[in-house]
């Protein structure tokens, strides 16, 4: 009977010791704006588009799961609010005109800034 009373107390103490032991380990928080997560180059971030390489074949539209995200009627544009960064367009583009960048901070103040048009691409 004694063991049945002291066993729970022993378990509670063991739990407490683990919590105390965890107190001494190093901190894991990442102070976001100052320390950013360093990401490798195969990270699927914002899509980059080179105008001269593109042959306007429309392959990327056929492959893109988000319907209506890419449109190439008069100029090439990607709607960043629809894009799910799956990388299909980059993979199936015959001339590698599209490629991933490592940038993942894409918040904008206005909604139509999210639609990346060709002339914005032209100069960078």
């Amino acid at each position: 009977m004694i063991n049945e009373f002291f066993n729970p107390v022993k378990e509670l103490a063991k739990g407490l010791s683990i919590i105390l032991k965890n107190g001494l380990k190093n901190r894991v928080t990442l102070k976001y704006p100052e320390e950013q997560e360093k990401v490798r180059n195969n990270f699927r971030g914002k899509i980059k588009y080179e105008k001269d390489k593109c042959i306007k074949c429309g392959n990327c539209i056929k492959v893109c799961p988000a319907a209506g995200c890419i449109s190439i009627n008069e100029y090439f544009s990607i709607d960043m609010s629809q894009c799910i960064f799956c990388g299909n367009c980059v993979e199936y583009c015959p001339v590698n005109a599209l490629s991933h960048t490592v940038e993942y901070t894409l918040a904008q103040s206005k909604k139509d800034n999210l639609i990346l048009k060709e002339e914005i691409y032209g100069n960078d």
Binding site: L12, G15, I19, L20, N22, G23, K31
Partner: protein
């Protein structure tokens, strides 16, 4: 009358005031001091708890407002001040406004009863333990009113009912343990209890009634709704329990009351069992410098105040550690715990206290 009262009369003797006005001004002045002390400790406790829990989960805790997050609680308070006061449509308006007060005011008055040091206590009465526990029973009724009056919100209703169940279950064992302390110390006045525990660490009351200490500690956890027993506002089940519908200043009042109750109950545990403001080995630093009587009296009080705060800090850190480590108990398991285990144990503890008192009487 205590030394401070004499000092106070001297300072006021320049203005020719009637006798009764000085007497009343003394209590008002003391009460304002207590309110300031409480606000400071609550501000510190809220931030300390978040940092302390973050320490055990390998995080840093809030460190954006102020140097290392020191103004975080002030920022929270100001934010809550400007939050819109939403009153649910079919809420019982009068009770909805009253319940934060019912929860907050008794905790504030209880602060006045606690003997912070030999000279400094606002309200001195021969049965201050009874007053203490009587005032600490009222917030549970406030929580019930809060739950009942927030419209048709069933979460708040269940939270309120749970707080009453809890209160009754935990009051009885704590009163029995208080009875054993009163037997040991001979009087119901808190400052007398502390005086009887002066001297070395051996005649603290934790050693003769260690069983009483554990029971009272767990029952105080139940009264102040701390984690293993925080049923009225169990986040994962009742969303936010009784303070579901409260926002703005009223929510801040509930929040303030909870932390004030945490401090005051752990201070009570210290006063009853760990020899309130007595230094552990009856050694005061102020004795080494040979000061004049009045100066020594003042510094002794400050040092005793430090000892009380130091011991309460240890108890509060233990309470917060328990919050970090353990899951929540089920409501009916807690009631079984109180009715079936704590009450017989506290009666047994009463016998031990009587036997020890009798043995001390013979030696």
């Amino acid at each position: 009358m205590s030394l401070f009262y004499l000092l106070y009369i001297e300072c006021l003797s320049f203005w020719k005031m009637p006798e009764w006005l000085i007497f009343i001004m003394w209590y008002i002045f003391n009460f304002i001091l207590i309110v300031i002390l409480m606000l400071l400790t609550v501000l510190f406790l809220v931030l300390f708890e978040r940092k302390y829990l973050a320490f055990y989960t390998r995080r840093i805790g809030p460190d954006r407002a102020g140097y290392k997050g020191c103004f975080q609680t002030v920022a929270d308070a100001i934010k809550l001040l400007f939050k819109e006061n939403i009153i649910p449509k079919n809420a019982d308006k009068f009770l909805f406004f009253l319940s934060p007060l019912i929860v907050f005011v008794p905790v504030l008055t209880v602060w006045a009863l606690l003997p912070f040091s030999s000279g400094f206590y606002t309200f001195h009465s021969c049965c201050s333990i009874l007053l203490f526990m009587a005032f600490l029973a009222i917030p549970a009724i406030g929580i019930l009113f809060a739950g009942y009056s927030s419209g048709g919100n069933n979460f708040a209703l269940i939270g309120g009912i749970r707080s009453c169940m809890q209160l009754i279950a935990s009051e009885i064992p704590s009163f029995l343990v208080l009875a054993s302390i009163v037997i040991l110390s001979g009087s119901m006045d808190l400052s007398v209890i502390v005086k009887n525990q002066s001297g070395s660490i051996l005649n603290w009351y934790i050693f003769p009634s260690f069983l009483g200490f554990t029971i009272f500690f767990i029952c105080s956890l139940i009264i102040m709704n701390r984690l293993p027993f925080d049923f009225p506002e169990a986040e994962s089940e009742l969303v936010a329990g009784y303070n579901c519908e409260y926002s703005g200043m009223k929510f801040a009042m509930f929040f303030l009351a909870e932390y004030a109750m945490t401090f005051i109950l752990s201070a009570l545990v210290v006063v009853l069992f760990l020899g309130g403001y007595n230094a552990p080995f009856d050694f005061y630093i102020t004795d080494c410098f040979n000061l004049s009587v009045i100066l020594r009296e003042i510094f002794i009080n400050f040092e005793q105040f430090f000892w009380l705060i130091f011991k309460t800090g240890i108890i509060i850190m233990l309470i917060m550690l328990i919050r970090a480590a353990y899951p929540r108990l089920r409501t009916d398991k807690t009631l079984d715990l109180c009715w079936y285990i704590f009450i017989p144990l506290s009666i047994f503890n009463l016998f031990i206290a009587i036997i020890i008192k009798y043995m001390r009487g013979i030696l």
